[in-house]
Point group: C2
């Protein structure tokens, strides 16, 4: 099969650090163009200031990877789907749930692949964790995601706007893993969102979920963590305790350990290639739906102003 001719749209840090090496490392893809308003130079690849300019050019494109901020993702994705291009969406797949549903309908109508990617689901420990949990009785789940926003998002004002999601920007990674490894669907029962007095999005959140079996599931999200950082999911079962650490990269089971380096984006692109080959889409909005539910149902409390 001929390689998929891919254009990357939005050439920022995540594109350079993760997408470009993964595309270069996967023979199913060939990078044919870059689209960026600001910093469009990728060596050896033609650059365009807009998707319209790309589509008006002689460059033939089968698929695009959208690495722009979520606020502008719908319009670009819709434009590509309408032209019959497959679309890879960075997380989160949109600024609202409803626009993602509209994109899904468009992809179905035009018979092209839409992939709403969740990179944390491809961390090394996640697939074995999911497999191990299918055979267990789950008693309790704790999600602890505590990091220092000053280290990871220095000076990023947009992340404190509603579309930036605040502490749910990292939290949605935890939710993408939890919705993937837990065998039963779960749902929110209570939430407290701590919003700095001078910001629109939360800096911390305490969430409680349950599932059809009444399993207690708690989530502790905090961006005010200095010192050691935590990206852990702990699942207590009838056969002992599972712990995923480092955002899913390390898996600790009662009698074994799985660990690997950063394989997330390589996994995403391998999955995207298989979706295109099979003529399928993969649009699971469950992680974003939980964040919307927390905003819908949660109680907001005002906390100390946050200054970068």
């Amino acid at each position: 099969m001929a390689p998929i001719r891919l254009a990357i749209v939005g050439v920022g840090k995540i594109a350079r650090d993760q997408h470009l090496p993964s595309i270069a490392g996967n023979p199913a893809f060939t990078l044919v163009a870059a689209v960026s308003r600001h910093d469009p130079q990728i060596e050896g690849v033609p650059s365009f200031a807009s998707l319209d300019e790309l589509f008006a050019s002689d460059v033939k494109v089968d698929a695009i990877a959208l690495c722009t901020p979520p606020q502008v993702r719908y319009e670009l994705a819709a434009k590509a789907l309408l032209r019959g291009c497959h679309v890879f969406l960075e997380k989160p797949p949109g600024a609202t749930l409803s626009e993602v549903e509209a994109l899904r309908a468009l992809a179905d109508e035009h018979r092209v692949t839409l992939f709403a990617s969740w990179h944390s689901r491809f961390a090394a420990g996640v697939a074995p964790a999911r497999a191990w949990l299918t055979e267990r009785d789950i008693r309790k789940v704790q999600i602890i995601w505590r990091e220092d926003v000053r280290v990871w998002h220095p000076g990023q004002a947009w992340i404190w706007e509603p579309e930036g999601l605040g502490v749910f920007d990292p939290g949605i990674n935890a939710l993408s893993i939890a919705t993937h490894i837990l065998p039963r669907p779960f749902f929110l029962t209570a939430a407290t969102l701590s919003v700095p007095a001078n910001r629109a999005a939360p800096i911390a959140a305490d969430l409680t979920f349950t599932d059809g079996a009444g399993t207690p599931i708690t989530m502790d999200l905090d961006w005010r963590q200095t010192g050691p950082q935590s990206w852990d999911i702990i699942v207590e079962t009838d056969a002992g305790t599972l712990r995923l650490a480092r955002g899913g990269a390390d898996l600790f089971l009662p009698d074994s350990t799985h660990s690997d380096g950063d394989v997330e984006y390589a996994g995403l692109y391998a999955h995207f290639a298989s979706l295109v080959a099979a003529g399928q889409s993969d649009v699971d909005v469950a992680p974003l739906r939980h964040v919307a539910d927390a905003n819908l149902r949660g109680t907001r409390i005002s906390v100390e102003a946050f200054e970068d």
Copy 2:
């Protein structure tokens, strides 16, 4: 076919005013029980203090209608679905989107009917409005839902909690009509939620949506309207203007008018009976998804405290 043996759960004002007359008026149903913790007396029908007591009794039940507040709806609905009962959910279908998805999965698994009802969709003008719009080019949509909360929800503290939805409690009716009559899916692009200083849920909201064709759709929700009340949807098309008034009861087209009394709950029960007969479910979360999107993406501003 034998009538569907129905139990009504939650015997409050909406049950007495709307459900009971519609059940009595539809030969497809026979009311066999009432479940209510507080005010369980319906003449000629056995009463139970809980769903567990009903299921432990000799009364045979095929379906339940859930008229309790959304906070406790999941547990009751899940209990009924697990026993193979069909379930009719009052609006909104749940306190979160994720719990409704979990119920949908349960209904599919147990091969019973789940009906997430939206009563405004059965107002007299809605079906002809939908039919008329399928053949038009839509240029602009305005939704104006302005009512006096002191008249419609006097002293109801729960409606100001997050689960009460605030002004989205009536607003979700408008959204249930708009998502039903407009031919293309639409999605939020901006929202401002006005939240009283002493309450958790908004008293007013200004929302802007669009669809894949770029149609401007605005929604003006306000609970501070004294004097004339408005529950209007105005759609400008290539063939003139459509206006739905009185929450969908009256339809004004360029060359005709459709008007009728209150037929909403009769329509809901007729639809529920046909779903049960066909072995199908009808769970459209689009209206609640728009409310969640508004809470996810909207900007909150603090306004004057509201005292009943």
